[in-house]
Amino acid sequence: MALLPLGYVLWYAASLGPGELQDLLIRPRIGELLANTLGLLVGVMAASVALGTACAWLVERTDVPFKSMWHVLFAAPLAVPAFVNSYGWVSLTHSVQSYLGAVLIVTLSYFPLVYLPMVAALRGLDPAHEEVAYSLGRSRLSVFRSVVLPGARPALLGGALLVGLHVLAEFGALQMLRFPTFTTAIYDHYRSAFNSAPANVLACVLVLGCLVLLMAELRMRGEIALWRVGRGSARPIEPMTLGRAKPLALAGMSAVVVVALGVPLASLTRWLVVGSSTAFPVGELAAAAATTLGLALGAALLATAMALPVAWLAVRHRGVLANVIERCTFAAHALPGIVVALALVAISIRTVRPLYQTLPLLLIGYAILFLPRALVSIRGSLSQAPPLLDDVARSLGSGRIKAFWRVTMPLIGPGVGAGAALVFLAVSTELTATLLLAPLGTSTLATEFWSDSSSVRYGAAAPYALLLILISMPATYLLSRQTRGSDTR
């Protein structure tokens, strides 16, 4: 099922004649979109790597004060959906509606995706390697280049590629910034003519880009797994004394936090307080919130139910089939929401008409999009429950099923819960697929925010934005805990 959208897009491209395909592909408009998308991709990835690495290094390896606070602050931008972030900026100044503005805002939204794995990597590296390098007479800079960076490389590249996937899939923020990319163009085509050929061809190009990134990411993922084995360093490394550079570092860090969090939040607060169109339609807010929570809950249950058997196969019965199934779900992970939505719309119109614009189709779309989040979490916890414990339980007289309920289930319970929670939170802030797939008249927090803010009723959009941020906070907190978990012990 996860491969359905991918298959559809490829099938569609194949069904068009080569001539038609050429006509659709070779147009100045495509060139412009390609340049925009690639430019944005490169710009955001480079900026995220630089910003994420710098922040991670400052927090993990130097003596800046209040490390825990900085860590939370650097992870926090993930709690502000990118389209809310761009709303904050756009409603403040229109000068961000440019290439540089887009790079700035998208980077500020997604640099934590580099920052978090870098923190984990810097923390997990064996300090002995660096100490040996110092004792061999290398300078700090040289050690960072020749020992630390190679060690952290999988994390760094993995994070960068993840940012890339998000950039390709990003719709709301870029639409608001009036910076056309493939994703926004697909949406516009879809709005003007349902299921049009140009939209599908654009989707093909987009999928191609995503798959390239995904391949690279899968390769990195393998390396990461290798590199983590048995590297829990017992000894923390001596933090570097910043000395006179400390005020400078603090100023830089504060600046990042101000532009990434301060600006959107301040702008949001301003609209809440002074916005002329601000209203608190409690009924509508509550209805949208209830719909959002209901959808998110349904999707979380569905994704978890789908993820459990896949994770079980992947961990306990490693084999070709298990690998293929697992990879497939990750392939879906690379598909932008817009492509999944587009494919599901087309498929339902062609084959199962009654499903079109219904709740089940929307939930299936969510499940395809967010299955990997549940899967990663459940997989992780399942590998914490070694089969040896099942053996012991069986030798103590429990049958297979009883052993599962008494031993495995309690052990993976937290992981399953966390996976479901991640899906829940992702769904509650999802915009693109919801816009395309939701039954008519369905209003979620994200779609209400979107319709208000895109018709420049900034004040009216503010309460929805606030709720969106509040909902995203627990997931972000979970994520930041995972990387610096040893702090709490």
Binding site: L389, D391, V392, R394, S395, L396, G397, A403, L411
Partner: protein, 346 residues
Amino acid sequence: MSQVTLAGIRKSFGARSVLKGCDLNVANGEIMAVLGPSGCGKTTMLRIVAGFLDPDAGTLSFDGTTVAGPRQSVSPQRRQVGYVPQEGALFPHLNVRANILFGLPRKERTESRFREMLDLADLSPDVGSAYPHELSGGQQQRVALARALAPRPRVVLLDEPFSSLDASLRVSTGRAVARVLRAAGTTAILVTHDQGEALSLADRVAVMRDGRIVQVSEPVELYRRPVDVEVATSVGGVVALPALVGGGCARCVLGELQVKAGSHHDSAVTVLVRPEQIRLVEAAPGRLEAQVAAVDFFGPYATVRLRVRAGAGDDIEVVARVPGNELPQVGELVGVCVDGCVEVST
């Protein structure tokens, strides 16, 4: 408590044959150690007894009743075996009390049974509410044993249970475990690669090599009368020397050595001399002389490598074990005596 019998057990994983016809009989209430290097198949054998694996051929029976054999196999949960794996494998989500009572039916999970098991395993009652990660390695191992013993199993299987403990804890935990097993009167199979552990804790030791049991003996017997040089080496250091046997003694480079009166007459054999049988004395005319080549000092004892002139041929090196307070100098000439009987290996 049961008598456990393995007869002709075979097991292969793909093309690799791990057990090649394994025979072993463990008496009721006996602690049997299975000693062998890693990879010899001892863990596979244990997992077959537990029921986690089925043998390809051969039969396994408890008290004469077949539990695994051709076309039939009792599932692990019905076999009533207690299993104590290497790291103890306590259930991390349950406290000590719930771990120990895990294998009992709900109505038998009583305070008195719990106390009884704590007593047996020599654990203090206040660890009951502790979680596994709060216990020391030795305590975890004893809780794991108590958990295995609580449902009164027919046999307890211990898979290298002390190898994850540090040296000082290993000895004391081993002694405690053996005491608990004897107090409970349970039949036990202890798999280990540590000869000291096997010799000191078990009633009998089965030496396993390359998928087969090669010797089953009581510890003292095993040490004194190994069936071959390899078995001798696996339970301690040994010096193997070519010799001629006849008339109650063996002639070799160490002179005429006493052998047990037996069947060997005027034949070329190998004699096995334990390093602690070789004693260093003052060099004197008429005594066998050797030159000290190296001394490795271990504190209470030292091993001394000696070069002994072997007639016309090259020097032969033998190893002696001497008390740590009587160390010879390297290069010194010493006299050599051999105490007691030596074993003849054919």
